[in-house]
Amino acid sequence: MSALLAFIAAAEPAAKGIDPWIAFFSLITVVITVGMGFWTAGKSKSAGDFFVAGRSVSVGWNASAISGEYLSAASFMGVAGMVMLNGYDALWYPVCYACGYLFLLLFIAGPLRRFGAYTIPDFAEGRYDSPLFRKIAVCFVLFIGFFYTMPQMKGAGTTLAYIFPGLHYSVGVIVVGAVITLNVSLGGMKGITLVQAFQYWLKVFAITVPIFVIAAIVGHYQSHLEANKTAQETVAAAPAGIERKALPAKAPKDEQWIAPFGSLTTKAVDNAIKAAKTPEEKAALEANKKPYSLLYTYSLIIALVCGTAGLPHILVRFYTNPDGVAAKRTTMWVMILIGVFYVFPPIYGVIGRSLTPELYDAVGSKGTDKVVLELPTLLAGRDHPLLGSILSGITCAGAFAAFMSTFSGLLVSMSSALAHDIYGRMLKPNASPEQRLKAFKWAAVIIGVVSVGLGTQVEKLNINYLVGQAFAIAAASYFPLLFMSVWWRGMTMQGAATGMLVGGLLALGSIFLTTLSDVYGFSGLADFWVAHPLLRILCEQPAIWAVPLSITLMIVVSKATAATIPADVRMKMLVLHAPEALGLKQEYIKEHEGLGGH
C-alpha cells in the first residue's frame, strides 16, 4: 500500500507539496481498514459463521455498523460542500438522510427482520413465491448501487487530488477503485460488523474534533451564520472578531443563501429567466419561481425520506439483529448516531463560506466538495501550522473511511447479486461452491471496473446531488414494494412488479436525462430544460410523481389480478407481524457456502 502511494507520488511530477501529516493519517486509515477486513474475514470463513456471529451482534454494535456503512462520502464531504454552495436548501439533505430512518422504523424494520429475508430479492421471492420476481428485484440492486457508487468515486477522486496536489481527478478514482475492488475480491471487507462499526466512530471523531478546534479559533457556527444578512436586515450583524473574506461573483448572495428557496431549488427557473426574451415572459417566470421551488423542496423530501427506507445495502444489515424488537431498537440508535453526526457537516459549509470563498470559483474536484478537507489548513495561516496539518489529516482520514466503507458495502451487495442471483440461479444453477466463489470474485472485478468508469465521468456533479438521485430511484421502486408488501394482503406479484418497474424505471430515465445534459452538455436537451423549467424540476426530482405512481399501479394491477394472491398469504402476514414469542419465525435464508453473504 505504501509502495503504491510512493509510486503515485513519484510518478506524478506535479505532486509536490504533499503534507506528510495528511498523507500519514490517510494511509493509516486505509491500512487499518484493509487489515481489519482481512483479520475478521479470516476468523469467520464460511457463510454460516458469518450468520451465526451476525445473530449474536448486540444492538450497540449493530447500530454503529449500520451507521458506519450509511455515512458515505456524500455525508462526510458532500453535505458540507452543498451547504456552502446552496445554503439553507441543502440542509434538507442531512436532515432527511437521518430522519428517513423513521419510516424504516415505523413500517419496515421489524416485519422485514421477522420474515427472515435479508436482501430485497430474498424478500421479493419469499413473499410472492416467485423466482421471476427475484430477478426483477435484483436489477434494481444494480441500478441503485451504480448510482450510489458514482458519488463515492467522486469523493475518492476529490480527496486524492487534494492530498496529492496536481494529481488528475480520474487517477484518484482509478487508484481507490482498484484498491477497494482488489480488497473485496480477495476476501477482505465482507460487510463485517466490526470494521463498519469502527468506521462509524472514526468518522464521528474526524468530523467533530477538527470543527471544535476550528470554531474555537475562528468563531462559532452561529457567529458565522450571523455574518450572512437576511433579506430583512440591512447590514450583517456579525459579532466582533468574525473575519469574512470577500465573496466571488459566482457565490450566491447572502439573503439568497441563508433563506429557503435559494439557488438549489430555483436554478431551473433562474436559467429560464436568463434566457427569457420579453419582459412579460420574465415576469411570468418570476411569479412561478417560488411555487416551483416549493414543489422542488417537497419532491426532494419525499425522495430522501422514502429512499432511505429502500436502500438495499442498508436493509441487508437488519438481518444481523436477533429479532424484530432488536431491529426496532437498532433503528432508533442508528437515528441517534447518524443524527448526531449530521449536525456537524453544515458547520464546515457555513464557516467555509466565510473563510474559503475561493472554492466557489473552482469546478469539479477543486470546488466546494472539498471544504471539509480544506478548512482545517486555514489554521496554518493563524500561527498553528502543525495543528492545521494534523486536523486536515484527520478529516482526510474520515473521508477515506467514508468512501471506503460505503463503496465496499455496495461492492459486496452488488457482486453477490450478480454472482448469486444472476450466475448462481440463472446462468448455472448447479454450480459448485468453488465456482460460486470464483464468480463472486469476477463479479466484484466487473462491478469495480464499471464503477470506476462511471466515477471518472461525474467530476462536474455535486457528490450530494448524485446520492440524492440514488435515493429517488430507491424511493420509487423498493420503498413502495416493501411498504405495500408488508401492510397489504391483497398485493400480487404482478402488481408489485409493475409498480416497482414502472415507477423505478421512469425515475431512473428522467434522472438520466438531466444527468446527460449536465455532464455532457447536450445542447438540444439543455435548451429544452431552459424552455420548460417545470419539467426540468420534475425530471431532476421525480419522487413527487414517481412514488404515488408506483403505489397506484401496485394497487390497480393487484386488484385486477386478485386471483393470483399467494395461497398462504395469511401465514406470510403472520410471520411478518406476529411477535417472536408466538414461535412463528420462519427463515428464508439458505446458506451459500463460501460466499459470506450476498
Binding site: 440542509l91 430512518y101 423513521l102 433579506a231 433563506a259 417537497y298 424488537v325 432508533m332 407481524h577 408466538l582
Partner: protein, 103 residues
C-alpha cells in the same frame, strides 16, 4: 410452513391477524403523522411567513435552527415513543394469544 385449521386455532385466525396488524399500523401511522406534519409545515411556514422564519435566534435564523438542529431530537422523541408503545403492544398481543391457546 404448517397450516392449521383457522377455525380452531386462535393464532391462525383471520381475526387475530387483522387485530395484530391494525394495532401496529395505527401506532405507526400516528407516529408518521406527527413527522409528516412537521415535514409539510416547515416549507409552508418558510413560504408564507418568510420574515417570521428569518428572525434571529442565538445568531441562527429561526428556520435554520429548527431544520439544522432541533429537527433531530424531535425525530428521536417520536422514535422513542414508538418503540416503547410498539414493544408493549407486541407483548400484550403475545400474552393474550398464548393465554387463549391454553384455554
Amino acid at each position: 410452513m404448517k397450516e392449521s385449521n383457522p377455525n380452531t386455532d386462535p393464532i391462525h385466525s383471520d381475526a387475530f391477524l387483522a387485530r395484530l396488524m391494525s394495532g401496529q399500523l395505527k401506532l405507526s401511522i400516528a407516529c408518521a403523522f406527527c413527522f409528516i406534519v412537521a415535514l409539510v409545515a416547515l416549507p409552508l411556514l418558510n413560504y408564507f411567513q418568510p420574515a417570521f422564519m428569518a428572525q434571529r435566534v442565538y445568531g441562527f435564523t429561526l428556520t435554520w435552527l429548527i431544520l439544522g438542529v432541533l429537527f433531530f431530537p424531535f425525530v428521536w422523541i417520536i422514535s422513542f415513543v414508538f418503540i416503547q408503545r410498539s414493544i408493549a403492544l407486541e407483548d400484550a398481543e403475545a400474552k393474550a394469544a398464548l393465554d387463549g391457546l391454553k384455554k
